[in-house]
């Protein structure tokens, strides 16, 4: 993930950003850099630290979710990107240009052309009709009426809201309002879309529908989306990568899998308490290479394999090809039986018949039954038939228990 300024895949680069609210931000920053704690700094200066030394990159075209509890600084972080909030120090680069250094007019141009925003409570202007709300950004940018209405109508269509052009926002349901909010944000064809808890105010069903809608829109026309959420299910569902913030600090940035599998601390772990892991995990995520593996080579006797199994006190072993492809699984008994007659190719005849390897992409909910029904740990393979590890009953229980 290490990136340089010339990396073309990086769209937004956050570098050493601090945001301190209060009367004496400079002094608070000095104290903070001198290693003083937040309560000390608050007592000394009355300042609160909203974002504490954040640095991360957001790639072009990804849905990047910033997650955290309320007060974690995630909404502040989002507003630093289009400078609705002024950073205390640090650089926020969008396509290599530092937003923090922009003049007022450069900032206005950036907001009109490149970066738009969707709000939690929709923020539709109540005195405007749906179409005038959708065309708001274009109107501000000075586009003439016929053209901006045409474009607004096109985006309203794209978000699935036709025939409500002249309705007032208060006549729409929450989901429809946020479609207007989305249309307004998309009308200016921005390259970056900032979404502040955009779906949090919606009913669970509508929320899922809007998430799907966002993913669909993203598949049609890829933008860089920064999505703030406090809902881990939402983050897992739509996020390509997730950034977890705690008390103004970025504690972890990674793919949903990385966050679930290697949570940086208890705070991150705590998010998964209520997550249905069987939906989040794939077989490949929890497969462990704790089984004895034996590479099937000409001239290597099965006796050596048996000895290793005894040494590690294992009943089974995984037989692999030289290219790590999965060949089969043997048990100590089956191997002893086939070696006794001295015939060639002892492994192949010793393969346990009822063991079917599981593809890595299989969701855990599908894996549950197979592992439960099998007397042995079940091997997992990737799409190239390579062995990734095995899932035993105890691994499975541990995984499920993680969330308890």
């Amino acid at each position: 993930m290490a990136t340089t300024e010339s990396d073309p895949t990086v769209k937004i680069s956050i570098k050493d950003v601090f945001k301190i609210f209060g009367e004496q931000p400079e002094r608070a920053l000095e104290l903070l850099k001198a290693g003083r704690t937040k309560p000390e700094i608050h007592a000394a200066t009355g300042c609160t630290i909203a974002v504490n030394d954040a640095s991360f990159d957001i790639s072009a075209g990804e849905i990047f979710v910033i997650m955290g509890l309320s007060g974690s600084g995630k909404s502040t972080m989002l507003r630093l990107i289009n400078r609705l909030i002024e950073p205390t120090s640090g650089a926020i680069e969008i396509a290599g240009r530092d937003v923090a250094q922009m003049s007022r007019s450069e900032l206005v141009a950036l907001r009109r052309n490149d970066v738009s925003m969707v709000f939690q409570s929709f923020a539709l202007l109540p005195n405007r009709s749906v179409i005038d709300n959708a065309a708001f950004g274009l109107e501000i940018a000075g586009m003439e009426e016929a053209e901006r209405k045409r474009r607004a109508r096109t985006v309203l269509q794209a978000v699935g809201l036709e025939g409500y052009d002249d309705s007032r926002p208060d006549q729409l349901s929450g989901g429809m309002k946020q479609r207007v909010g989305l249309a307004r944000a998309l009308a200016g064809e921005p390259t970056v879309l900032l979404m502040d808890e955009a779906f949090s105010a919606l009913d669970p069903l509508i929320r899922t529908e809007m998430q799907d809608e966002l993913v669909r829109l993203q598949s049609e026309h890829s933008r860089t989306i920064v999505f703030v959420s406090h809902d881990i299910d939402e983050a897992m569902r739509i996020g390509d990568r997730i950034c977890i913030m705690q008390n103004g600090e970025v504690v972890q940035v990674g793919t949903p899998d990385e966050i679930v599998l290697k949570p940086a601390n208890d705070y991150v772990r705590s998010f998964f308490r209520n997550v249905d892991v069987s939906q989040v995990f794939r077989a490949g995520d929890i497969a462990r290479k704790t089984q004895v593996t034996i590479i099937d080579r000409q001239g290597v006797s099965a006796a050596a394999a048996l000895e290793r199994m005894e040494h590690y006190d294992r009943d089974i072993a995984i037989i692999l090809g030289r290219d790590k492809t999965y060949h089969g699984m043997v048990s100590r008994n089956s191997l002893i039986e086939t070696t006794r007659d001295g015939a060639s190719d002892p492994y192949r005849r010793a393969f346990l018949k009822d063991i079917e390897p599981i593809p890595a992409a299989e969701s855990l909910s599908n894996v549950l039954g197979k592992v439960a029904a099998s007397a042995f740990p079940v091997p997992v393979i990737d799409e190239a038939n390579r062995y990734l590890g095995s899932i035993s009953k105890s691994t499975l229980l541990e995984t499920l228990d993680r969330t308890a």
């Binding site: 052309n113 409500y164 429809m176 200016g188």
Partner: protein
């Protein structure tokens, strides 16, 4: 130990009179032109046409019942012989409200945009509102003589605070997410004001204008003491002669004008009501109904 503040004020007023008389003349000329212009138009309007306009406005903005009230009460005013006095009063109210808005709206906007301006203006507004109205009749008469002009000016001073305060309040109360949305889509400061803040502050601003009109109506009666004319004269005559009947007639006419102005101006901040709404509602509500079921 006593301070003689009164002497200081006296000499300040004299200083202004001696040194700023061209400015005072200019103000008098402008306000006089506005007041007299409105008065000329209103007095030239035939009574029946005047009543018809009020009744139609009531019908359009408020409703059928209120239109009936307007017709009946204006007929009563006419038969008390107070129609032209009422038009004089109305022209004073309109002129002073116009001036109060011209000064008050920008001032309210300035207060909303700057805490410092707000901190300076607020005590001045308090002073304008709480100082007994009679007190600034005296300097108004000294600066501008007797007649409609000082009456209008005294009325402006007395009635302006609500429109300033409620413009300020209205703009400050615009939801922060609307402001963020405006900024996020690249509004300049003036775009933010005209496309986001003022439209959303409109109900509050309209309430301020309504209050200003009401206050100016109460003040123009007092202003008749310096010759502003209108229904105030009738009331004043009633007081001077201890003639309860005349005073009551004048009072009734003021109340009628107040009720009509209040109801009509209150309706301006809201959606179209009453008779016309019945006509428009059916078409307007169709998309709403389908929006709910969709």
């Amino acid at each position: 130990m006593t301070f003689d503040i009164g002497d200081g004020v006296d000499s300040a007023v004299n200083y202004i009179l001696d040194n700023f008389s061209p400015l005072l003349d200019l103000i008098a000329a402008v306000i006089g032109a506005v007041t007299n212009g409105i008065q000329t138009v209103l007095l030239a309007t035939p009574m029946t046409l005047g009543i018809a306009i009020f009744v139609l406005l009531s019908l359009w903005r408020v409703g059928f019942g209120f239109a009936l009230f307007t017709a009946a009460s204006l007929w009563l005013v006419d038969h008390m012989g107070l129609w032209s006095a009422m038009m004089e009063t109305l022209s004073l109210v309109l002129a002073s409200t116009l001036v109060a808005m011209l000064i008050g709206l920008p001032l309210g906007i300035a207060m909303a945009r700057s805490d410092r301006v707000a901190a300076i203006v607020r005590p001045i507004l308090d002073l304008m509102q709480t100082m007994p109205a009679f007190v600034y009749l005296i300097p108004a008469a000294m600066f501008f003589g007797l007649g409609a002009v000082p009456g209008t000016i005294a009325t402006v001073i007395f009635s302006m605070p609500p429109v300033v305060r409620l413009t300020n309040l209205g703009i400050r109360q615009v939801h922060v997410e609307f402001i963020e949305a405006g900024n996020a889509f690249g509004c300049t400061a003036s775009q933010l004001l005209f496309k986001v803040q003022l439209p959303n502050a409109l109900p509050s601003i309209m309430t301020g204008i309504n209050q200003t009109i009401m206050l100016s109506l109460s003040m123009v009666v007092i202003a008749s003491m310096i010759g502003a004319g209108g229904i105030g004269n009738t009331v004043l005559t009633g007081i001077q002669r201890l003639d309860v009947g005349t005073g009551f007639e004048g009072g009734i006419a003021v109340v009628i004008l107040a009720v009509i102005l209040d109801r009509i101006t209150q309706s301006l901040g809201k959606e179209r009501a009453g008779f016309c709404r019945l006509l428009f509602r059916r078409q307007a509500q169709q998309p709403t109904a389908s929006a709910v079921t969709a």
